[in-house]
């Protein structure tokens, strides 16, 4: 990124942090958490301890970070090196990202940027100019990406509240600032469990590792009565609704399942898991020492804010998470794909000078699809 771009991004971010500090959620038990930040074109500074709002504010003003992070873990000494921090507990965190959902729309809004010659083109595996295969992919997520991610978030919340008895007030959903959601669970019975236990939880949530017996299918001594009922709690009920469809079809389908046999049932399970298992990134939930983007801070991959979604169904990140100014600026834009921000369409731009609002310019520069002119 060229210096003028960095300067422009820094100025825009600085203005945001100055005007919207109220959006930055200082997490509870602030002084027990580890903070970290990155500046444009430089490495990560972490192991920072912060007392309160004031200190956090100061950090933003003094450093003009590109990204700010905060741990979900609580430590006795968050500012010490990792092995001396003394881990106490950690909030449960789930990451749902559109890029993990294998959506077909993805190819339509992904651009490839050649590492060799900087040529920008629609999604491909080879640079059309120099044939290099070293390409960086940037996605400009669409409404479908967001809608599909929301469905996953809703499924996750349903499991958390019903199966794990977590209070709705303790589940906070944040738009990640790019193409997904971060779901935080506070004050649950899971605060103190370690990494392997958390991995088991993710297997449960994504319906991974189930054996046929769990859903009524036995190798020997088959028994129709063992199959789950339509209104059972937990995965049994969800399984019924998905596989049987309706109460009236249950009996007929059980007959089919029994006829197809045990190993075919395992395949049915894989299919069920693919379709109704929640698609969360297990590595994120397992990692009890990670630092996560701070709510209210800007994601430098997009210039959008990681923001709390109070009404998920209505939430539109491309209008509600864009807080940068409307002041216009001229940029050299090269975006083969059109995109929508604040309910307005932009692009496609073919290596042309255009005058756009700051929030659009930042979006494109962050995605490497524009330069300040």
């Amino acid at each position: 990124m060229q210096d003028t771009d960095i300067k422009f991004l820094e100025d825009s971010f600085k203005k945001y942090y100055f005007e919207h500090f109220d959006l930055i959620h200082v997490p509870e038990r602030t002084s027990e958490r580890e903070f970290g930040f990155q500046k444009f074109n430089s490495g990560m500074t972490r192991h920072i301890q912060i007392k309160d709002d004031k200190e956090l504010h100061l950090l933003f003003m003094q450093n003009v970070p590109s990204d700010v992070y905060c741990s979900n873990a609580y430590y006795s000494f968050p500012n010490l090196p990792m092995n001396e921090k003394d881990w106490k507990e950690a909030d449960l965190i789930f990451d749902i990202d559109a890029k993990d959902l294998n959506l077909t729309c993805r190819a339509n809004h992904t651009v490839s940027i050649c590492y060799e010659c900087n040529e920008i083109s629609k999604d491909s595996n080879q640079c059309r100019k120099c044939n290099s295969t070293k390409l960086e992919k940037k996605s400009l997520p669409c409404k479908n990406c967001i809608d599909q991610s929301k469905i996953q978030v809703e499924r996750l919340s349903e499991i958390l509240t019903n199966d794990f008895a977590i209070d709705k007030e303790n589940i906070h959903v944040y738009f990640s600032g790019n193409e997904g959601f971060h779901v935080y669970v506070y004050n649950s019975q899971f605060q103190e469990i370690g990494s392997r236990e958390r991995s088991e939880l993710t297997d449960y949530i994504s319906l991974r590792g189930a054996i046929p017996e769990t859903f009524g299918m036995r190798k020997f001594k088959q028994d129709r009565a063992a199959f789950p009922d339509f209104n059972e709690k937990g995965w049994k009920g969800r399984f019924s609704k998905y596989v049987f469809g309706s109460k009236s079809k249950r009996s007929k389908i059980i007959t089919e399942l029994l006829a197809n046999g045990y190993s075919s049932f395992q395949k049915t399970l894989d299919d069920v898991s693919k379709n109704i298992g929640v698609k969360i990134d297990p590595n994120v939930t397992m990692d009890i020492h990670r630092i996560f983007r701070l709510p209210g801070s800007i994601n430098s991959k997009s210039g959008l804010t990681k923001i709390l979604c109070t009404d998920l169904t209505k939430f539109d990140p491309y209008s509600e998470a864009s807080f940068l100014s409307d002041e216009t600026i001229e940029v050299l834009a090269n975006s083969p794909i059109e995109f929508k921000l604040k309910n307005k369409k932009f692009g496609p731009y073919n290596n042309e000078k255009v005058t756009v609002p700051t929030f659009v310019a930042v979006y494109m520069i962050c995605k490497k699809l524009a330069k300040t002119a």
Partner: protein, 341 residues
């Protein structure tokens, strides 16, 4: 600690304070070595160890929940306490381990029976309290099941390899896991064994008591039989070889693969400094991150938990297993190439 009746002490003798119990009954250890009537109990204690060493469960004089004769009750407890004295005097850890395990299995049977007792609420209560006190697992009765919080379930079940113990294969509702009495007790088996074992290890070792020598000597002889010899071929299992190959070719090994490799080598006694260079060909190699992650796995940083090598089962689901006939039904790559002679 829970106040126990005679019956309970006979079923769960490890809950009793040994020295106090003897005193309350009006005996000293020395008397058992000299008094001909009491001396039989040393033989009984010796037999109890012998049965355990053989991998069997000592059959007590308890019939159902009660003892046939009043006198048999203290005998049950004495033989347990004396067994501990003998084991301490002999000092062989392999015997202690086997004994603790067998006694845990024995107690398990009683706990299970007490938990499923429908006619006597107090028995059930006691079993629930024993579990709560010793293992901090709060169980509650709900219809025909016992329920425990999911987080407690996970802490205990995490080391089980059988797939039916995976949370997804359990009935989960309202933050609770539903278990039968059998499963409830099975869940804390390891802790029960560990508890009895540590109780014995931490007990004071008395000086030799006249009249105990014979049995102690016989135990020392016996323990030799159980010393196990293992030979290690030094060969790495196929999954590990494959992972090393991938890294050496400079290809990308998924996080789970690195986790497997690192935990495996750490368990084999390699140091973080020895392991780190293996990852230097990886496309995203960063020496500081690698060291930090390895230290984390080794338990020298972070929460201090040392991570263990995943089971073959787990590795299969992660497509990291490349089993050959030499894997021979082992359940963890760490067992590869270790054959009992």
């Amino acid at each position: 600690m829970i106040a126990l009746g005679q019956d309970e002490i006979a079923k769960y003798p490890f809950l009793a304070d040994a020295g106090q119990y003897l005193k309350d009954q009006g005996f000293s250890l020395e008397q058992f070595g000299t008094d001909p009537d009491l001396k039989q109990l040393i033989q009984k204690a010796y037999d109890r160890i012998l049965v355990a060493a053989d991998g069997k469960i000592y059959k007590s004089d308890l019939i159902g929940d009660h003892v046939s004769k009043e006198a048999a009750l203290p005998r049950e407890v004495f033989s347990f306490l004396l067994a501990i004295v003998l084991l301490k005097l002999c000092g062989m850890h392999t015997l202690i381990k086997r004994f603790a395990l067998a006694e845990a299995r024995r107690a398990e049977k009683y706990l299970e029976r007490d938990l499923s007792n429908i006619s006597d609420e107090s028995k059930k209560e006691l079993a629930i309290r024993v579990i709560d006190d010793l293992f901090s697992v709060q169980i509650e009765k709900q219809d025909d099941y016992f329920v425990i919080p999911v987080s407690d379930y996970l802490k205990h079940s995490i080391n089980f390899h059988e797939r039916e113990w995976k949370l997804i294969n359990r009935h989960v509702e309202n933050g609770l896991v539903f278990l039968t009495p059998h499963e409830t007790v099975r869940l804390i088996r390891k802790e029960l064994g560990t508890y009895i074992n540590s109780k014995i290890i931490n007990a004071k070792t008395p000086t030799m008591i006249p009249g105990f020598e014979d049995s102690v000597n016989k135990l020392s002889m016996l323990s030799k039989k159980f010393a196990t010899f293992t030979v290690t071929t030094g060969e790495y299992p196929p999954c590990i070889k494959h992972a090393i190959d991938v890294l050496e070719k400079g290809e990308n090994l998924p996080h789970s693969g690195r986790f497997m490799l690192a935990t495996f080598l750490l368990s084999k006694g390699q140091t973080v400094q020895q392991i780190a260079p293996l990852f230097k060909n990886a496309p995203d190699y960063n020496p500081r991150v690698t060291l930090y992650q390895l230290n984390h796995l080794a338990g020298t940083s972070g929460s201090g938990t040392q991570y263990s090598c995943p089971s073959c089962e787990k590795l299969k689901t992660q497509s990291l297993c490349f089993a050959t006939s030499e894997c021979d039904n082992i359940i963890n790559p760490l067992q590869f190439g270790k054959k009992r002679k």
